[in-house]
């Protein structure tokens, strides 16, 4: 077997993942790729979150994959990892041969484990926010929606002024400044680190990389140096973008190895082989045991144990964490249908922006202050630019985490995310004494109906039935009064709306035109 061919396979798979996931965040293709959701669900962050609300299957699959194959997730699946590989490849075109070389580097233990431990502790006491901030898939989602999609929209709008008939103009309505700043900061950090130091980000900052490293270190299959073939030329070390291959000592730090097969490709002798490693783990890769410590399987078990503890504790942990008490004093904010409640959202959302990208009406934005500190960049709905389409459940279909449950269209049409509140003194009909009815026009469930005005014959005013209102915001968006006469008051916990009434009508046959 030629292991360098696996590298080609890795690149192909990685590009499929990268392209599909990127497209699922771009305005013209978001929510339109049938299989993109599957590729989203097997990302680490979403898979981890899905354990609590959806299925544990993707997460178990990821763990098994890592136990068997090592950190292939980081090279084949993770869009942020693949982005770094792309940057590394591009940067190499601009570098001299000398500059292109990598060299073995000791791990930054304090930083990588520090971040992992802090995030794990937060998860244990029920604060998932730091995890949301550092989950690589979600980071990539924010980069894709804010930067890549922004750029694509810019190009699109440029084209739309050249070809006005065939290219549709897209307003930049779903990007908020602070999310853009955060996305840009991570984008710059990741891009710069990878341009100069390979996969440094994955092995010093990324908590997912660090966690998978604890397991990957003891993977069943690992890249190993075949001593009978090795000529000790040291070439492999120069190609290791994780800078975890010490060619002098024929040592590979598997906790940092992302199984990219670049070393296998570089080796002219084919001495780097991807082999079953459990039997030989004691003799392999530790020629100088005294010099380099091999921490043993304990760490891997410890890592899995910690993960188990986190999983078990999150259910009750959420109840004691301090941010919750603070929330109750605030007025709520609207969250997409399927989010169940603001607590449920905050517990499971990693702010990846998939729902924001999928919303065709562009009414979902990343929260700045609306959800509080622990809801920063999570989805919030406003009805300033449009309202929620009755026949659409794209957001809940796009969510890979289960933070927005997968609700059917029928369920969505009965999910009350808020209730309409009518303020008669603001209403045009009462203020001006003229017809309006814009709210009634837009109401899909007819929670708003127009009733005859008692004093002014011929004039009709709106009346609301909150029980059948689903809070879609058609009325609020379109209400021309200022201040608005129709407002949707958020439900902190989503409720089930009553079914709209059915207004049966006989088939009417007319004999004449009526004039």
């Amino acid at each position: 077997m030629k292991w360098k061919n696996v590298r080609v396979l890795r690149i192909v798979i990685a590009l499929i993942f990268f392209a599909t996931i990127t497209l699922s965040f771009l305005f013209f293709s978001a929510g339109k790729l049938p299989f993109s959701h599957l590729l989203d669900t097997i990302q680490f962050g979403p898979a981890f979150m899905a354990v609590f609300v959806g299925s544990a299957l993707p997460f178990i699959a990821l763990l098994l994959l890592t136990i068997i194959c090592g950190r292939v997730y980081c090279s084949f699946i993770c869009p942020l990892g693949i982005w770094q590989d792309i940057v590394i490849w591009i940067a190499a075109r601009f570098k001299s041969k000398q500059q292109r070389r990598f060299k073995y580097r000791k791990p930054n233990v304090i930083l990588r484990f520090g971040i992992l431990i802090i995030i794990a502790l937060c998860l244990i006491i029920g604060i998932s926010y730091p995890f949301a901030l550092f989950d690589p898939y979600s980071i990539y989602g924010r980069i894709a929606t804010n930067i890549f999609n922004g750029a694509v929209q810019g190009i699109n709008n440029g084209l739309s002024s050249i070809f006005p008939a065939s290219v549709s103009y897209m307003a930049f309505s779903n990007i908020t400044v602070w999310t853009f700043v955060v996305a840009s900061a991570f984008f710059c950090l990741v891009t710069i680190l990878s341009a100069f130091w390979g996969r440094m980000y994955c092995n010093t900052v990324c908590p997912v990389g660090c966690f998978l490293g604890l397991i990957g270190e003891h993977a069943m299959f690992r890249l190993q140096v075949n001593e009978s073939k090795c000529k000790e030329c040291g070439l492999c070390g120069l190609y290791c973008k994780s800078e975890c291959l010490d060619s002098k000592n024929k040592y590979i730090d598997y906790s940092r190895c992302v199984v990219c097969f670049d070393c296998a490709k570089s080796c002219r002798e084919g001495a780097l082989e991807y082999r079953f490693a459990w039997k030989k783990s004691k003799t392999q890769n530790s020629l100088e045991k005294g010099k380099i410590q091999n921490p043993g399987r304990r760490d891997a078990i410890f890592a899995l144990g910690t993960m188990g503890a986190i999983l078990a504790s999150r259910k009750w942990g959420r109840k004691i964490h301090p941010a919750k008490a603070a929330e109750e004093e605030k007025e709520g904010s609207l969250i997409p249908p399927g989010a169940v409640s603001i607590d449920h959202l905050k517990e499971h959302c990693t702010a990846c922006q998939a729902c924001i990208a999928a919303c065709p009406s562009k009414i979902i934005h990343p929260s700045i202050t609306e959800h509080g500190i622990d809801g920063f960049m999570m989805p919030v709905i406003t009805y300033k630019k449009h309202f929620c389409s009755y026949d659409c459940n794209a957001c809940s279909q796009a969510c890979p985490n289960g933070a927005l449950k997968h609700i059917s269209l029928e369920e969505k049409q009965l999910t009350q995310i808020g209730k309409v509140q009518f303020t008669a003194k603001n209403c045009i009909v009462f203020k001006e004494g003229t017809d309006c009815g814009a709210c009634d026009e837009h109401c899909p469930t007819k929670a708003i109906t127009m009733l005859p005005h008692k004093k002014k014959p011929g004039l009709y005013f709106p009346s609301v039935n909150k029980n059948i209102c689903i809070g879609c915001g058609g009325c609020e968006y379109v209400c021309p009064a200022s201040p608005k006469a129709m407002r949707v008051i958020p439900n902190e916990i989503h409720e089930a709306a009553q079914k709209p009434t059915v207004d049966k009508q006989e088939d009417i046959k007319v004999k004449d035109f009526g004039f």
Partner: protein, 315 residues
């Protein structure tokens, strides 16, 4: 009037008479009565009932004198249907796509250099274009479907005759065209009480909120005074929404009278449509749909259907 047109009209009138006499027996013995005030003038209004959309259209347009009466060779034409909502055709929230396609084809046949179809939808534009079936049908028929979802497609014009509405942002395609055909669907309407030809103007403007805050009925009449008037109004009443309009909830809101109204007179066609809709919903009448009379006050047409040449066709 030119001799040719006179002869054409006379012949068509005769044909119309013959058709009416032959087919009227189906309407419970009653004969729909044509009202031809002035034989020397072309038909002002055609009402037809009982056929499928394309057939309805072709029967009515031939009564009107054919599309070439309205569209000249080389003209850029806008066909402006109501595509307000993200709803399928059977819900009668949008104009029947078959009718739009028939009109587009006919315009091209009459020599139009280009036919553009657009509407400023209330629901999300792309979804409304798609669900209504109009985008697909119009494109297939040879039209260009124009975007209308962003303010940048609208340019401000003044409405000098407006009482409440003196300026409005109107879609650039309509500003650029040589002739436009107004194609509303007849519906009950919560705000305006009825939406038809004059109300359909609200889909050519960007800021509809202004209408609602500035006396909706008057603003509707005002926008219809915009200097570029439609050369023809074609009211789709194949399916009509008789309650819960203009969006509707269920198929229960829909009746299927299989009718069409056509007129060069926007007030007359709305009057006819209003009286027609009144038969299905007693709350709809000329008094509550007050923009029609306000339109008459603007001299946009007449509410007196006895004063114009009317042809009625029924199966």
């Amino acid at each position: 009037m030119e001799r040719r047109n006179f002869i054409k009209t006379a012949v068509l009138g005769a044909v119309a008479g013959a058709v009416t006499l032959n087919t009227s027996s189906l309407i419970a013995g009653e004969k729909p009565e044509n009202n031809v005030v002035d034989k020397n003038k072309p038909v002002d209004l055609v009402a037809a009932m009982g056929w499928e959309p394309e057939e309805l259209y072709s029967k009515a347009i031939s009564q009107m004198g054919g599309m070439s009466r309205f569209i000249k060779k080389g003209q850029k034409v806008v066909v402006k249907p109501n595509i307000g909502w993200d709803k399928k055709p059977e819900f009668a929230a949008n104009v029947n796509p078959l009718l739009v396609a028939a009109i587009v084809k006919d315009c091209l046949k009459a020599g139009a250099s280009e036919v553009v179809v657009f509407d400023h939808s209330c629901d999300e534009c792309e979804a409304s274009y798609r669900s209504s079936g109009i985008e697909e049908a119009a494109k297939k028929a040879g039209a260009r479907v124009a975007f209308a979802h962003d303010e940048k497609y609208y340019k401000e014009v003044s409405i000098p005759d407006g009482i409440k509405l003196q300026k409005a942002k109107i879609h650039e395609a309509l500003l650029a065209c040589d002739a436009w055909i107004n194609v509303p669907i007849l519906k009950n309407h919560g705000g305006a009480k009825m939406t038809c030809a004059m109300k359909n103007y609200m889909g050519i403007v960007w800021d509809r909120g202004y209408f609602h805050t500035h006396n909706l009925q008057q603003s509707i009449a005002d926008i219809a005074t915009y200097v570029k008037r439609p050369v023809l109004n074609i009211v789709d009443a194949y399916r009509i929404m008789t309650q819960n309009g203009p969006k509707g909830k269920t198929l229960d809101d829909v009746q299927t009278p299989k009718a069409i109204f056509m007129s060069t007179d926007i007030v007359a066609v709305d009057t006819a449509a209003c009286k027609f809709l009144g038969q299905f919903n007693e709350k709809v009448n000329m008094d509550v749909v007050s923009h029609i009379k306000l339109g008459e006050e603007h001299h946009l047409g007449t509410t007196n259907l006895d004063a114009i040449n009317v042809v009625k066709l029924a199966k």
